[in-house]
């Protein structure tokens, strides 16, 4: 039986799985498609992470350092898996660089991708420069440190957040009917950040319902309203138009509480993007023969096991956003849980 373990994906889940395995003395290979570790938060320069309001380098930095400095972990950047043969305890994996690995177990942590909001043409993304995504807003904060309208570089007087873009939407087919899980909370945080830095900017959140579950309720729903004066308006934005007369956008919706149609002027509109399985997740699921949700194509756990970390294939474990929308800290916890499942599978005796 091969001794080493393969972790696919160097994001929060993959990092924490590789880190835990390395620390416990298991030879681990960490394969990452991109040329940098850290996954979406690092690659796409997130500004502040929910729920603990820390930066990606604060949260993931120590994990990356641990993985890089651990002699048991071999990191392979810019590498993907191409094929896999064999069975549990003795997988033979071919990599894109031509190398072949023999591993006993695999942790799949291939993650998600952001919804491409150009698919919702009625929202004007890609047509009007002042319609941006919440990812772009994060990058505006993290890279430029200021809020502005892309059309003229000025501070917007009003900002609207449009919830559930690419989520809970049957119009996109069966693939995007799920909830993104992070959007309500992140919008609450971003809206608060705007109001804190620019109290003169009015911020509106257009929602159908607000899903800041568990302990997120206060910091990401109550505080934005009570401490920062963010306004929540009930109604899903159906169309975004541009009025050349005043150079402002119009968000078209029905205010379902007032039961009236509305077209409200806005200077900057932020689309809150849904999550989809990444191309890597779909590819890896196909190569490894993992069971996927027939609609969303996220990887699903085994029906037989109570653990949601075990896949339908023995010796293959799944963690993080490849299984569906998830927040970063849960993703990291799942990575660690996957490491424990791997140890259990290997029958390793851990001595303290």
């Amino acid at each position: 039986m091969a001794k080493s373990v393969l972790v696919i994906g160097g994001g929060p889940a993959g990092l924490s799985a590789a880190r835990a395995l390395g620390k416990l003395g298991v030879p681990t290979v960490l394969v990452e498609k991109e040329n940098k570790l850290g996954g979406r938060p690092v690659l796409e320069s997130y500004h502040t992470l929910i729920p603990r309001k820390m930066t990606p380098s604060q949260v993931l930095g120590p994990y990356i350092e641990d993985v890089q400095s651990n002699g048991n972990v071999r990191i392979m950047l810019g590498t993907e898996i191409e094929a896999c043969e064999g069975e549990a305890g003795d997988f033979k994996v071919s990599l894109s660089n031509g190398e072949k690995l023999e591993v006993s177990a695999i942790v799949v942590a291939t993650g998600f991708q952001h919804f491409d909001s150009r698919r919702k043409g009625e929202l004007g993304y890609g047509i009007y420069p002042d319609v941006i995504t919440n990812l772009q807003l994060e990058q505006m904060f993290s890279k430029e440190g200021r809020l502005y309208r892309p059309s003229n570089g000025e501070l917007p007087k009003r900002v609207a957040f449009v919830f559930c873009v690419g989520s809970r939407d049957r119009q996109l087919g069966v693939t995007n009917v799920h909830c993104c899980r992070y959007g309500c909370a992140l919008s609450g945080l971003q809206a608060s950040e705007i109001r804190e830095k620019y109290p003169e900017v009015d911020v509106f959140c257009y929602y159908m319902d607000v899903r800041t579950y568990g302990t997120w309720e206060y910091p990401f729903y109550w505080a934005p309203q009570e401490e920062y004066g963010v306004r929540y308006v009930r109604g899903r934005i159906a169309e975004i138009t541009f009025n050349p007369a005043d150079g402002r956008l119009r968000v078209k919706h029905e205010d379902t509480i007032v039961q009236r149609p509305a077209e409200i002027p806005m200077d900057l509109v932020v689309l809150v993007l849904g999550m989809e399985p990444s191309p890597g997740t779909k590819k890896v699921a196909k190569i490894l023969g993992l069971k996927q949700d027939p609609d969303s194509r996220f990887i699903v756990p085994s029906d037989e096991s109570g653990s949601n970390i075990r896949s339908n294939k023995e010796g293959i474990f799944i963690a993080g956003a490849c299984k569906g929308p998830i927040d970063i800290e849960s993703s990291m916890a799942e990575g660690e849980a996957a490491a424990m499942e791997v140890l259990n599978f290997l029958g390793a005796k851990v001595t303290v």
Partner: protein, 255 residues
Amino acid sequence: MPIHERSLIESERVLRKERLVIDGIDVSGDWNLIILPRTVEDYDLDFAKEIMESPDGKTIQQCYQCSYCTASCPVHNYWDDRYNPRHFIYLARLGMVDELQKRVDVMWRCVSCHKCTHRCPKGVLVEDVLKVILRAMYKRGLIGDYPSKKFDQFFTESVLEYGRIEDGELLFGWMEKQGYKIKKDPILRKPIPFFSDIPKWLKDMVSKPIKEGNIGFLMLNAKHMLFHPRTKEWNKFKQVLRKVMEEEGALAKGG
């Protein structure tokens, strides 16, 4: 053809002609019905800000529209369901002033039972917030004085004149001011309840002491009707009181 959601459309926005001829062609029929748009084109954020920034109105920001207040509100439940504190909060926070204005006839009806404030799970001081909304509307001339304030003025006038009120005069005088037709005898000009066009509850109230033969009560009332009760040496006091009230701005000069 019926209009869907007819309740949402004010009559003045429905344009419909019995007979409509355009360019010599008769286009009469249901389809010539036009409903003027009711799209909200903007929020009045200055109005909203005034409420959010006032000391007793700032808890408006805490509302998450659960409607615990409205479900508890006796005015909403037993008087008129157009009185809806939860809705007023939503409208005020977005500055939808035209929507608030549609409800000015019911907005003063809070009976100050404080159930809303005591029960609100978010700690909104609902009653205070509603008072702030009313104040902001009053300041902009969007809502008139509340009805009981008019009664207070009527009451005060009577007290200022005599030092005391006379029940019949106050009651029937107020009803007359509200538009009810009060029949009066030709000589003394006193009200005759049974020939007046007044609500049943008032007729019942007047006839009760007669039916029960409450002679003492009836005699006292008759005396008061003929000789208006008056506080001793009221005239002197009245002059001082008027002067003070005028100086304090509580009474219009010469009023």
